[in-house]
Symmetry: C2
Subunit: 620 residues, 2 copies
């Protein structure tokens, strides 16, 4: 008579066999996909999920006590979906819709399939997202949840992995577990370290991780023994990395451990033979997940903090107003937290850190991991505000562009935008950030010109269910709005107008003040101009811009940003079928070091140069 | 009587003292800058440059045998400029122009100061650039040049550093030397590892680097002894990292090793006292550089390779044409080399790798380091073509945006653009790449629709002195140009026109073919349309677009890219003062997995949907 262990082993083997069949069949049916990359991790994942280890309540997927599983190697999606089919969350027939237009089972996992914890497919992002989830569980939810991340060996070349490795150790995340599927082969050949498991261990362990090597990632006994370390170790404050030797294409003798088969499904001719090699199907076999540990969510109480009120004419940098806004909004949004890339004294998120140290995470100078972490935190129900210099958010563009596919509503704040930062020079100037964030589908791009509007916009972005970007300015600008002024997503403010305006000036942030000054100069010269504060660049107030274009002869946009993809092009898009001409003033010369005033003037976006440009146009 | 060693030590000390004075004075004069971050590395850099070690011919700065020095911690620019003042390359008085508008001595080093090897200031980029230079010296120039990179401890959190560390070991670059200035303090407090030198050693050494710890980076004897290892070790195939304990603010007792002084110059009141603490000036003291090793540049001969010719109607993916173009152009451009991020079989740079393995560098999945490496290679006179999926170039936006400040003319090639890639889904789709590359000042953005134009554009971008981007398509498209058709930077092709065109269709790449098809549908329905192939998106052919807008009632742009910052907005900018309406067809719905045809149709950029949109407009 078989022992319980033997029976369970047989069960797992049958599950693996069935999952292999699903992997091969759904990719062949789709005519594309990555069967060989999926096959290498079958035992690792089946033993993780279905050997009374992975704790997940299928009826309560949002239970903070649930374990989480992220496929950082998102191209192993056939395995990912097959696992959830084995857990009863996908009908086996539906697996055959894999990669079809409209299917929830996309080529790489996205939020369209509800059991996807985070969209992946751009490699080297899953560990950072898992880091964020583990951070959330340990420090915010204080839950017993663990986050597992399946990693490919090729993706270990990505620097973002080493950012996550550093930070996870720093934050003592013993609830973060990486499972490194060392199948030796990347897309076009062998990885840097091939099947040398020790090479990974030697590099990861010194960062403070517990590394456990699995010599044969297809041997249930070895995998189980390794995973048991999770249960016995308890809280040792170390993240864990399982490093497993596996065979790419395992289970299909003709493909095993051979190059040239990456991302290639089995063709129809070979399919029958391969399925028969995989053995008799047991279509009805399913796996059981473990129950989550009973856990009482313990939402921390928040407290109100006074922040300064602003009066018209006060000189306040919008970055300062951002820091104050976070503090003031902390009690309104109990899920609000802040992350910063080692520049909190510059972005002013320091103000929040000092008041709410438990809700602030120092991410050091590692922007990719910071954005990945924020993604993980957002997906676990937090409202993360991520700040660094606007210029350095470009470092994480790949992570940023992936957030919508996870439905992760991260809030980004970029300080030190434009040439107006002055002497530090172009390396520190955010001059591409509006263009970058405008490409994020359904994302907000907000750009306040004073402290009052900053606070209002931070409130709006916290409340809005989407990715959002706020652009703040280094230098002080005068408060121009009453503290009870109302702002809306997609709104703008007409600050100067008359019945006989000849010119419309549209700007946001620092150049709005230049426009207000140019307005006066022009008025003194007999030219009436309308001035619009386009604080919401995306979406923008189409109707008001159109009306201004209807009622004036010409529109000027003015921005401290490169012309491409910025405010000017946003307005041009809004007026694409409108005959009124638009002139876009923007940063067109090579930006240099120098004083803010000299740089605004040199780039022809200062008040004087705006007035000049208008006068030239009027007398053309 | 002093020994030669003692005399030299005294000389170095006097130099250090003078350099400290310059650092303090120029930052105080500027009213900004990073004196404390500069002061920590004075001895390390003076002993490197002026103790008969750093080989550089001031009369021949381009000599491939010269050593190179990159300040990855670019905010230590006061030290950087002071070193070159000590080498006689800057007049001491000119140091006082530091950070002034128009000065070559910008806040962070840029190519405006000729001795800047690479622009820095965005942290974590210098080691990758140095890696590229060392790669160039070892494998291409085969020169004795060594590349030194001064690193800050804070920036070691950046993943890009660990990409460079991995790759430098993989390529056995014993001519790459990092000098890690462990001054313990980042911008807002202590770094992750503080003054724990061993923590850095433990992490870097396992990657295959030789690590040499300097317990006191201000002790000339210790620094010299450490640096002597460079001379005695010979070629051991290992990159070297010096890890030195230093004191932030060293030399100014009130600031030494104290937080809160990052990026803050000494104020005028304290200046006199601090200068007197730094001792009597010796304004005339200067340092000597060593002579470079005599070296005969050995340019490899190239050979001609035949590549396929194309005939009209042939179905060829532009990515295939890219691979063929590299091969064909190899002899025309002896400096042409290629780098790829582990996807050469997809981008088709594999074709070049297979023919010219000595001119191809596998960069693995580490895009940031790849772009940094290409920057270094470009700065050492090579013409690097960098390829990966267009989507994954976003990973390196920060490195890309820095290239113009180095005058590094890197050539980027992004494959797998747009929804037309199909089943792999949104994570793999380049939908922001045109927006990203359009922001690069003076950069080219090229997007061919067929094999013939691809080859011509690769030739143009190789010849052009600027950053350039080429966007290629995964699927096959028919050849539409004769093989002798001529293309120019800033050109376009009017492919269909008549005397009574009502509509202009502007597209590039895959949607150009959709427009050609829509043209026929519309013609059959009695609507004449002009079709323009906008293969050069930046710069674009303003005159031809204007003429089309003059001669037709409406312009439609069609692109497989998000609407923001793409072809549509480029055309809108060109027509910003033109009354003809412009309709921008682009990817507006959430991109999914599916067939190319279904996705183009769903996004309303297929031939049928273009014709529909035109008809709707005509009958509005």
């Amino acid at each position: 008579m078989a022992t319980a262990t033997e029976t369970q082993k047989e069960h797992l083997e049958e599950l693996c066999q069935q999952i292999r069949r699903w992997i091969v069949r759904c990719t062949s049916h789709a005519g594309s996909g990555h069967p060989t990359s999926s096959l290498s991790a079958v035992e690792l994942m089946v033993d993780l999920m279905f050997d009374n280890r992975f704790r997940f309540d299928l009826d309560q997927p949002d239970n903070p006590a649930n374990d989480r599983l992220i496929f950082s190697k998102g191209h192993a999606s056939p395995l990912f979906y097959s696992l959830w089919a084995a857990a009863g969350q996908i009908q086996p027939d539906d697996l055959m819709s894999y990669r079809e237009f409209g299917s929830k089972l996309e080529g790489h996992p996205t939020s369209r399939f509800p059991r996807t914890e985070a969209a992946t497919g751009s490699l080297g992002q899953g560990l950072s997202i898992g880091f964020g989830m583990a951070l959330s569980a340990r420090y915010l939810d204080k839950s017993p949840s663990r986050t597992f991340v399946l990693l490919g060996d090729s993706e270990m070349a990505e620097g973002s992995q080493w950012e996550a490795i550093q930070l996870a150790a720093y934050y003592k995340l013993d609830n973060l577990i990486g499972i490194l599927d060392v199948n030796r082969l990347g897309q076009r050949g062998e990885t840097m370290y091939g099947h040398d498991l020790q090479a990974y261990r030697d590099r990861i362990e010194p960062f403070g991780w517990r590394c456990i090597v699995i010599d044969d990632g297809h041997d249930h006994a070895q995998v189980r023994k390794a995973f048991e370390a999770l249960e016995t170790a308890g809280h040792n404050d170390q993240p864990t990395m399982f490093i497993a030797r596996t065979i790419k294409g395992k289970g299909i003798p003709a493909l095993e451990n051979e190059g040239g088969h990456h991302g290639k499904p089995v063709d129809d001719d070979a399919l029958g033979k391969i399925l028969s090699q995989l053995g008799e199907p047991n279509e009805s076999i399913r796996g059981q997940l473990a129950e989550p540990i009973v856990y009482q969510p313990n939402l921390p109480a928040s407290r109100g903090i006074d922040a300064p009120d602003y009066s018209i004419g006060d000189e306040v940098a919008t970055r300062d107003a951002y820091g104050n806004a976070l503090v003031r909004l902390a009690s309104k949004y109990p899920t609000l937290i802040a992350l910063d890339g080692e520049v909190c004294n510059s972005t002013r998120s320091k103000r929040f850190r000092d008041e709410f140290p438990d809700r602030f995470f120092e991410m050091f100078i590692a922007e990719q991991n910071m954005v990945g972490a924020a993604t993980g935190l957002a997906l676990r129900g937090k409202t993360p505000f991520v700040s660094t210099f606007a210029a350095f958010l470009t470092r994480a563009f790949d992570q940023i562009r992936m957030t919508p596919y996870s439905d992760a509503h991260v809030k980004f704040v970029g300080s030190h935008c434009g040439v107006s930062i002055g002497q530090d020079g172009p390396s520190q100037m955010g001059l591409e950030d509006i263009a970058m964030f405008r490409t994020i589908q359904d994302g907000l791009v907000l750009y306040p010109c004073d402290a009052v509007s900053t606070e209002a916009l931070v409130d709006l972005m916290a409340a809005h269910d989407s990715v959002a970007y706020l652009r703040t300015t280094r230098g002080k600008t005068p408060v121009i709005y009453d503290s009870d002024e109302e702002f809306v997503v997609g709104g703008c403010k007409v600050l100067r107008q008359s019945d006989d305006d000849q010119v419309t000036l549209i700007a946001a942030g620092i150049t709005l003040h230049e426009c207000l000054s140019a307005h006066q100069t022009l008025k003194d010269a007999g030219v009436n101009s309308r001035v619009i504060d386009l604080y919401s660049i995306k979406p923008l107030d189409h109707a008001t811009i159109r009306k201004a274009a209807d009622q004036t002869q010409v529109v000027f946009t003015v921005e401290d940003h490169f012309p491409e993809g910025g405010i000017g092009e946003a307005v041009l898009t809004s007026l694409s079928d409108h005959p009124t001409p638009v002139n876009c003033l923007a940063v067109r010369k090579r930006p240099l070091s120098g004083s803010s005033e000299k740089l605004l003037d040199a780039e022809e976006i200062s008040a004087a140069k705006i007035a000049d440009a208008v006068r030239r146009w009027m007398t053309r």
